[in-house]
Amino acid sequence: MQTHQEQVLPRPLSGRGETPWAGFGNWQQLALLAVLVALLIIGSMLSPNFLEARNLLNVTRQMAFVGIVAVAATVVILTAGIDLSIGAVVGLAAVAIGQAVQAGMDPVAAFAFGIVVGGAVGALNGLAVTLGRLPPFIATLGALVMIRGYALMLSDGRTIRLEDRAAEAAWLGSGEVLGMGVPVFVFVGIALATAAVLNGTKYGRYVRVIGDSREAARAAGLPIRRVEWSVYVYSGLLAGLTAAIFVSRLGVAEPTAGTGLELDAIAVVVIGGTSLFGGRGGVAGTILGVAALAVLQNILNLTGVSPFAQQVVQGAVVVIAVLVERLVNRSRE
């Protein structure tokens, strides 16, 4: 840890020459980009339907669900934290939205309500980590179980149907603009905005420094707790947004929505080259990771690989990605 602390620390603190794109273009991300391009070529060779407009619409939309949450996970992981409760928060926010619509709230207002609910849970997680000084893994693991339980309690374990309001609410999840799904635009917008903040603002540098070396951050007098708290709030807000898209897409609110989503998100973040120990990585890698995994999954589905073999492949990809990262970093040192 000490070695890259010395490498990384001076750069973010200097504050010079940072552009919103500073996170792009390192070795690992170029490799990932190459893999993605290779997958696209392989896909188009293996299946005539791969490059069809409808398929691209599907893949990018499927990507957006994990993607939005993965962007939040990237920011949390950059602070050397982790948020295991994201998937459960998606479930709770979905129930909140479903019940709000059932109670007669306008779907758009209900979506906003869901996002607020997510943010509120995130704020509590953040307090547990900062004021309560709980290790993030423990705090959010506890939150995962509690929140999923609460979502099930509120909904009685049942799927909540939006009934005749479903059509009115469908634009966010099922709508299309220029042949692309609305969730894709939401995802891209959030990813770009987050990358810009991480790479172009003082706050973004704080996030990385805190994750890289807490002592250095403390010595530099950074507002560690406030920054840490804020990343959990952001995580909750984006989980709420994902819930809104889920509910809109399906026309029902499932209390089990988002089960296991935190693991998908963390896997994608890791594939994208963000270190679980904090400090290193960024949203650009995560976007590439999300895209690579979604395209891979799509190719496996289009070519009819057995579902069991698919799981083996997906797991292997995560391990290989981390292995490559290790090897690259070791050879650099």
Partner: protein
């Protein structure tokens, strides 16, 4: 009647749909009618633990209003209501317990004479099937004024559920109705319950080892019924997509086997893809989107899903691709939404997978009375199409 639910209850906030169940914790002072056969001290301790658990899991719930006070007077009303299934009065058996099933559950003793404690340990209440089970178990218990029924949520976790069974043993109940999260993992806990003299009834899912009786429908049969419908519709042969539930789960394996057996009977039917969608609508939607890309128009004739949630996800993908006319969608379970879509002519069929409540409560009552029960009580799997959909509405979950 007193009923208690642990681990999953709804604070009495009064909102939404009539499906909420108030959080009921009644137990501070157990009356004398507690017919304890086991050591009282252990029983008391167990109750204390159970009450504490109940309280903590129902924070914010209204635990003071004791519905027993209201339920007792209503019981006679229900008893005097016309009851066809059970001559002793009370609620009827479900519509899926007919013939041998109904005969096996006919209670000879009077409902009032059933004086015992029953624990229902369900593998998970977080699905509409579990929720409906809990509702109907509570409703059925009102037919037996002196029966005490508590429902425990195993949260789909074998360890949690084993612990709950241990608690039930130390509390000292007379009958344990269990739907195990895992057939092997719950075996030791069930064996201990049996050793303590508790009558064990498995419902819906089976457990390794001996039990008094098992009540439930057969997942292989449900799969067969779905497969047979498709086989009949696709007499000239065709391509079928099978959407599978969670890999390795026994309902998944059984439903898959049943579907395979039925489809084998028609020569030219081929299952062209069988992705796993984990009983999730969202996952089925994504999987079907990809499959509709892989197979062009005319290359898929039917989709059979291991449950209705997945069938509805597939239906959404098919409708969005504009291919509703060429693909039949068949599910299993008979959820309310599936029935509505069948009625609207959008979904082809589903197979009702019956909730074992209220019937398992009658099995428990017979066990309390010491009456004989067969080894297996099999409930009916009913194929529902546009023709008979009106008959089954309200009887499913």
């Amino acid at each position: 009647m007193t009923s208690r639910r642990l681990g999953s209850c709804t604070p009495d906030t009064g909102e939404a749909s009539g499906t909420r169940r108030p959080c009921v914790v009644v137990a501070e002072e157990r009356p004398e009618r507690l017919t304890v056969r086991r050591t009282r001290i252990l029983g008391r301790l167990g109750i204390a633990v159970v009450v504490a658990l109940g309280m903590s899991s129902c924070a914010g719930g209204d635990d003071s209003s004791d519905p027993a006070g209201q339920a007792e007077p209503t019981a006679p009303d229900e008893a005097s209501a016309p009851a066809s299934g059970n001559p002793e009065g009370g609620a009827e058996l479900s519509a899926y317990c007919t013939g041998e099933c109904a005969e096996a559950l006919e209670l000879e003793a009077a409902a009032e004479s059933i004086d015992c404690q029953v624990a229902v340990s369900w593998n998970g209440l977080d699905h509409s099937y579990g929720a409906a089970t809990a509702d109907r178990t509570e409703a059925a218990a009102t037919a037996f004024p002196n029966m005490d029924v508590s429902i425990l949520d195993g949260r789909s976790d074998a360890t949690t559920q084993s612990q709950q069974v241990e608690d039930v043993i130390s509390r000292g109940v007379d009958v344990l109705i269990i739907s195990p999260a895992d057939a092997d993992a719950l075996e030791p806990a069930v064996a201990r319950a049996r050793d303590e003299g508790i009558e064990v009834i498995t419902a819906d899912r089976t457990v390794e080892g001996d039990v008094l009786t098992h009540i439930g429908s057969d997942n292989v049969e449900a799969g067969q019924a779905a497969g047979e419908f498709i086989a009949e519709e696709l007499q000239g042969g065709g391509a079928v997509v099978e959407l599978q539930g969670s890999a390795g789960a026994s309902p998944t394996i059984d439903r898959h086997d049943g579907i395979a057996q039925a489809l084998e009977t028609v020569e030219d039917i081929e299952v062209v893809a069988d992705p796993i969608a984990n009983y999730s609508r969202a996952e089925a939607l994504a999987a079907m989107e990809d499959l509709l890309q892989r197979f062009g128009p005319g290359e898929v004739d039917a989709v059979v899903a291991h449950d209705d949630e997945m069938a509805l996800g597939a239906l959404q993908a098919i409708e969005e691709a504009g291919r509703s006319d060429e693909i039949l969608v068949v599910g299993i379970d008979g959820t309310q939404e599936a029935l509505e879509r069948i009625k609207a002519g959008e979904m082809a069929a589903t197979v009702v997978y019956p909730v074992t409540a209220p019937d398992h409560v009658y099995a428990a009552a017979k066990a309390c009375a010491g009456e004989e029960l067969p080894e297996r009580i099999i409930m009916d799997s009913l194929l529902v199409t546009e023709e008979n959909v009106s008959d089954v509405e309200g009887t499913t979950f």
